[in-house]
Symmetry: C2
Subunit: 140 residues, 2 copies
DNA sequence: GACAAATGATACTAAAGCAGTATCATATAT
DNA sequence: ATATATGATACTGCTTTAGTATCATTTGTC
């Protein structure tokens, strides 16, 4: 039972660092030095964030990445969705023979309620607020 | 991101049914007929619940399972712990080089807070209350 | 006592997701 | 030209999930 996996975690930390660099381009080399994330893995993550419109990249020497979106508009839910697919905590568990009464199933309901609450809380967290907290503590 | 996996889900549904049978012994055959859970898989789950002291079994003809614990004392958290291991939502994500400031890491903190809230809510759900809800709806 | 019907114990398997690595192509500042 | 970036893509190893398969043991019934 994991809320966020490692690639989501890495992505968030990379974004927090990039956010702190404001409008300056940040290279993978700099990110690797600061975050200790394995280089080829981080490269892959950044390329995905680029394709998803969260980062903007420039190639060639002096190339790198910068934010393409406002940091207060990049939510934890977005990153989880990108790197972990669906946000549903309880997928349909009876794939073969779906319970006809699924919509009123009490077990599904209690799980759904918890799920919705989690999503609401995740939705309230964005890169800007996290970056602010890190900055205040002098981390990164 | 799944709160409960299929074996936990199956286990809960089996327990709910067994709970409804009160003090009568319930065989795997009856449970398979009612829940449509694959027989060998269900057998394995019930054996685990037996070992963990949640079910009591009797062998031989007319054998089967009944609750070994009070249904209001069997919590969702217990079953998740049994079938999904730890309840930690965010395991240590920097295994190789653990962040020294982990205890004060803002990202870890927000995730931990959500996690604790989820656990509190899961802890409030037990087999008895679920069985009651199912019964009221005439399901199972 | 034989037998059928139940659980106990254990080992095995297939598929999916997670956490990366490796390589080559392409763009660009100097 | 060349060094230094990213882009695209394919591959690998490990773990978890979701089961299946077999044989041993116990027990009620005839």
């Amino acid at each position: 039972m994991k809320l966020i996996t490692r690639n989501t975690d890495y992505a968030i930390r990379a974004l927090i660092y990039i956010c702190g660099r404001k409008n300056k381009i940040t290279s993978v080399s700099e990110l690797v030095a600061k975050t200790k994330i394995p280089r080829p893995f981080l490269r892959k993550l950044l390329q995905i964030l680029n394709k998803k419109g969260i980062l903007r990249s420039s190639k060639g020497q002096k190339g790198g990445f910068m934010l393409a979106a406002e940091p207060q508009e990049i939510f934890l839910t977005d990153l989880i969705r990108i790197f972990q697919g669906s946000l549903k905590l309880n997928e349909c568990l009876f794939k073969k023979e779906p319970c006809v009464k699924k919509s009123i199933c009490p077990l599904n309901k209690v799980i759904r309620d918890i799920e919705e609450d989690v999503l609401k809380k995740l939705k309230a967290i964005n890169v800007a607020s996290l970056a602010f907290k890190f900055r205040k503590l002098g981390i990164n």
